[in-house]
């Protein structure tokens, strides 16, 4: 099943990156969100897929009887989901405030840090 999920991951990446190259804040944000999902699924699939057996040890045993799903990528992704959520929330508020302050959601018109008609640096010593 891994190759098929790999195709799905590729599609997620394609859409996410396409959206992130856009000029509008909101599309960039949606791209960031999908990008997080794409990365998580990439890690998940790379750790191999197992159906039906979550990495949980039955009550009476010290080690599971049958092979469980790989717990390591799951632990990594759990962390990643939370961090990408807080990252997304921060970017969202940043975009929101930028819109309020600069009256635009077009990244090309946000030129406060790099003004369009930046003068030549002073010549001389």
């Amino acid at each position: 099943m891994e190759p098929i999920l790999a195709v799905f991951v590729g599609a997620l990446f394609t859409v996410a990156i396409y959206l992130m190259m856009s000029r509008h804040t909101i599309r960039i944000l949606m791209g960031v969100m999908i990008f997080g999902n794409a990365v998580n699924l990439l890690i998940f699939t790379a750790g191999r897929l197992t159906r039906d057996v979550p990495p949980i040890i039955p009550a009476a045993l010290d080690v599971p009887e049958i092979a469980t799903a790989n717990p390591l990528p799951q632990a990594l992704i759990l962390t990643a989901i939370v961090i990408s959520f807080s990252f997304f929330a921060f970017l969202l508020v940043l975009g929101f405030r930028a819109y309020q302050e600069l009256d635009t959601d077009d990244s090309r018109e946000m030129r406060l840090a790099e003004p369009k008609d930046d003068p030549l640096p002073p010549l001389g010593y």
């Binding site: 856009s22 997304f88 640096p121």
Partner: protein, 791 residues
Amino acid sequence: MGADAAGTTFIILMLPFIAAICAPFLTRHLKHNAAWVLSLAPLAIFVHMLGFSPVVSAGEAVSGGFSWIPTFGVNFSWYIDGLSQTFALLISGIGALIVLYAGGYLKGHEHLGRFFSFILLFMGAMLGLVVADGFMTLFVYWELTSITSFLLIGFDHKREASRRAALQALVVTGGGGLALLAGLLLLWSMTGVTELSALLPLGAEVRAHPLYMVALILVLGGAFSKSAQFPLHFWLPNAMEAPTPVSAYLHSATMVKAGVYLLMRLNPVLGDTLAWETILPLFGGTTLIVGTLLAIRQTDLKLMLAYTTVSSLGLLVMLTGFGSEHAIEAAVLYLVAHSMFKGCLFMVAGAIDHEAGTRDVTKLGGLKAAMPITFAAALAAAISMGGLPPFFGFLAKEEIYYALWAASPWAIAFTVVAIVGNGLMLVIGFALALKPFLGPKVETPKHAHEGPVLLWLGPVVLALAGFLTAILSPLAHRFISSPMASAVAGEETAITISLIPSIGMPLALSIVTVVFGVLVYRGLDRARAGVASLLHAIGWGPDRGFDQFMDALVRLSFSVTRRVQPGRLDVYMKMTFAMVALALLVPMLRYGELPSWPSWPEDTRFHEFAVLLIGLAGLVAVLIAKDRLTAIVSLGIQGFAVALVFMLYAAPDLSFTQFMVETLSVVILALVMTRLRLYPSDHRPWSERIVSGLIAIGCGLGFMLYLIRVTQDALDLRLSEFFTQFSKPIAHGANIVNVILVDFRGTDTLGEIAVVTIAGIAILALLRVRTRRRPRAEATGAGAIAVREEA
């Protein structure tokens, strides 16, 4: 030499740096009298270096050092033979006098301590340069002299002229330093040795190497820029912006001679070829003539001296490149003589400036009565500079004519060059030593009188040294000149010239020189006007060229920056992801790491495909959504599809978290999007969309192939097995994922919590901070209050 002696030499080499650290503190307490204490450092070096005389004059060399970067075979090492010793003696001896002189010259200056510090740092750098054996040691010290000279020239940093001169010196000599580095690395790869002492016997091998020419040009680039050879001479006169002690020390006696030192040091290796014996005399001779002509034109004492320094350096390069034994001897003698008389004259010029308040030779006169000691020193130095007996300069000039005189047209040409150069230098020397002192008394800005002992001690000692070395020439030759000439020539050389002139061609040439000099001196004003009008006719010079070069550099970097950083986020993103796509795809294609075509999975289930298809539909809908609600809902669909994938493949924790996070994200996104009229759809022209699309597809394809390739290899499960095995026995938890997070990798989770907290605080800050950019709103508020009050 034993280990103890090597240790002492190392401490001696570090002594100027130690003194430089102490200088500001000493100066705070002792004011300008700190000079007396600080000059002990160079004096100690002088004495220590003098202690090598028995060894060095016997033709041996003192060497020592330790491993610096052993991985690359780089050593910090020194090698002291006749050449190095003479330079070290000049640097430390004149250095001690300069420190004293600076104490008098800059008495009461608020940054005197800093000045002492800089000049001692420079002394340490210069000393290290002339004794360095390892290539890297040499290069590091070489650049250190450039940097310290930048600090010294720009000492008076509040004036633009100082800043310009400092930067100019740094750019020219630093650039030359890079050429030297390349040259040294090339010599390293040609011969496999990293030490000058090991390189010296390999001359024949280097000269026969096909890369000889390249190495020669690179080394000459370094030497010529440092020693101000035409057309790179322009930085030296500009460096006169520095306080006079700096000019006397760096720009006459020591630093500018570093290039000459390098040429002399490498003469046994690179010399004795047609290229060497053509390039050096040509550049040196040109520099000699250009320098003296430009010197004639000046009326500022320091600038006159600066240009004669340029021409003296030209003379030295010319002689070094001439190749004959006499030429080497002449170069050695002239170098020593020049350091003494030029250092003295600079200090005299500074003393005149300090006491009379001006350095303009046309505004000075009749100072003889007011400054008798200074006058005596100046006269002695000028006689030495003019090459007249009984001073050391005479020996040097006689030797020069011995060396140059031969019957070939090449030699005659350079003899004429030397006569003109020497004659003009005699003119300048006397213009400097006589004009300000003789004649009727001229009113000067300050009431002139003899300066304090600190101001005249240096010139007097140097003038006396020029006299004594000439009188006691056999002794000077035995301990100084002959060992140095032997080191330069690479074979045993004994200098015998003395004050008693032998009747012959050299003496005749000397007389011609003096007559020429006297004639020009009488018509000095006319000569000055002539040169001035010539320069005016030419108009452009390398000094102007430097400004144009620097401006062009700024403009170029500005336009490059503009192009690479246009200030547009989408362009940055495109560049970044294009690189990502290349980084993923190119190595896979280049090294044949593409995955093999995957076989269709045997155990497929319908509902899994259904989930994936729903997710894809959500993705497409996000892309083409025309209104906000569709976009948000579609975004939720793909997120939930991912959550379902986690569910299907035995990751319940992930699934729950994903559901929660996705729900929250969609809710707050909806809140924000409905409050601000943001457009979710794409407004870009099709051409841009296609470019973005191609980059995105490239990245997606890259990640997909990469993932397929990864899953086709064996998986290392050791970590997972460890966690599964020990989760319950050690950590007492049944949910392995949870145990990993809170127990095995608990610190990572703490870090994650910190990240979330910081993000939360940042969000709060962003929402709370209201900028004062909305005066209208405040005005309305104020208006409302006013209205209420009226009511």
